[in-house]
């Protein structure tokens, strides 16, 4: 899937980066879960574990 579309061919064709199966699943899950937020419905982002809460 080329990110650029035009009336001629560009020198370098840039394809949309393919997400891994897990990434696609995570994206899908985030979207579905975010739609239901409220009360006990919470969505947690999977970030790095950060014990001392420093970036």
């Amino acid at each position: 899937m080329s990110l650029l579309k035009g009336n001629y061919k560009v020198k370098t064709d840039i394809k949309k980066k393919k997400l891994s199966k897990e990434d696609i699943l995570e994206e899908k899950f985030e979207k579905a879960a975010s739609k239901r937020l409220g009360g006990s419905m919470v969505y947690i982002k999977k970030k790095k574990i950060n014990w001392d809460l420093k970036d």
Binding site: L3, L4, K5, G6, N7, V10, K17
Partner: protein, 532 residues
Amino acid sequence: MAKVLMINPMVREEDDPKHVPMGMAQLAAIAIKKGHQIQIYDHNAWRADDEQIKEVILSDNWDLIGIGGITTAYASIKKIAKMARKILPGVTISLGGGVLTSLPKEIMKWLPEIDFGFIGESYVTFPEVLEMIDAGKSDWHKINGTISRLEGGELYFSPKRELIDNLDALPYPAYDLFPVEEVYFKNSAMMYSEAGMLATRRLDINASIGCSLICRFCYHLGIAGDMRYKKDAKGKIVNVEFDQPKNYTRTIRYNSPEYVVQLAKYVEKKYNANYLYFLDENLMTMDVFSRRTWLKEICKLWKENDLVPKKRKDGTWKGLYWSGTSHATLCEPEILKTMGEHGCAHLVYGYEAFDDRILKLMGKGSTRKTNIRSFFWTLEAGIRPIPNQIIGFPTEDFDSLKMQMKAWDDLGVMVKPHFATPYPGSEWFTVYRKKIEEQYKGQGKKLGLSDDLEAFILDLGDATRVSAVISKNFNAVELIGLREMMVHRQYEKIDQYEQEWRKKHKIPEGQPSTLCGQDNKEKNLEIKAAAK
């Protein structure tokens, strides 16, 4: 031949991309027709990461990078313009669309990366710029409808670009240059009707430009005759102006029914589309202007061209369902019925409120009565009316909020209203600009921006989120709380809060719940005006 990279910035990040940017699609078609080399990176559709945006920018030797979009795309535009300038220091970068048009001087100040801007309609300006590139020149200031930087850095407005007369002269939008199959068709569904929900191959068209009404919150992108050029005593253009109290201008233009239906037929055939969304600001304005012939003729030709949807056994259909925007006072039962019979599935109505006092001040030309009447006419015609609702009008009070809730109950409307938002280009923005800047005081500096107004622009998104408040009676916290209770129909809780509010503002029971004007003079005048 000029080599151009057009970039559609990201808008409404929280939702899936649903609309091919029409202006850009038309401009690309015009440029291609003139023989130029065009590539489009639709960032709103792809939403690729920064690494990939870099690759896109580096993928060819561009004569011009053209970015454009609506005001709420500003954050994305800013990011892309900065990236492009960093990666390609010598490339010419331009910006067009509603975002630049409403605040040309400010945007050029905030984004030094932009070499020049397209103000308003660009059907002629854009190809003229490409012609200039072909001639090896970069005298953007010599092209009408631009804002550019002179040698000393001074901003320069070239003369106003006049609007084209004949919209039928426009080539069909270059849908092919957008990821229609890869992205847009997947997001075809429009949750406003059964047909909309089942749409699998929806595309948009735009069949008219303009709106005859003067809603105080609305902006018409400077392409609807709504923009005027302001000159100083010496005749030098110093800025652009939009709706202002007692100063409104409009130009109404529409495609011929033949053009509209031929385009619909082309979309159906070429893309195997099954749904068409009319982006037009207000289809009924055009119907009134054409003395009630336009929509009728479109429906007639829809049928003659075999576009009226025919259901198949499996629930799919042949033909095109369609939808668009109507108006409470300008619509009539007869035309609605015809539209319903020809595949119109939903019509958006900007009812906004149900209190005549509020409606009158809004300039919408509608009343509670016409709102309710059009709602039932539309339902009767077999079309779903989709009412937009707003709270937080300048003189909104407890009475008007309760009237709104009552109407939702009466009509069976489930809605989460927008907050009244002064988008640039609207009369509200012009009138309340100082008030807006006050609300963002210090934010510019804090966020490392040029000024506080830029902070406001960056904060703008969907009006379902609160940004600058223009209500005289309620602050942001109150509006959010009241909306929540309205949505859940908590009448008692609102009554309770009204008591607290009255105590706080020393307004006894029985008097209008408003802080507008001493002795409620302002409100009484409004009531009188509405009664007239």
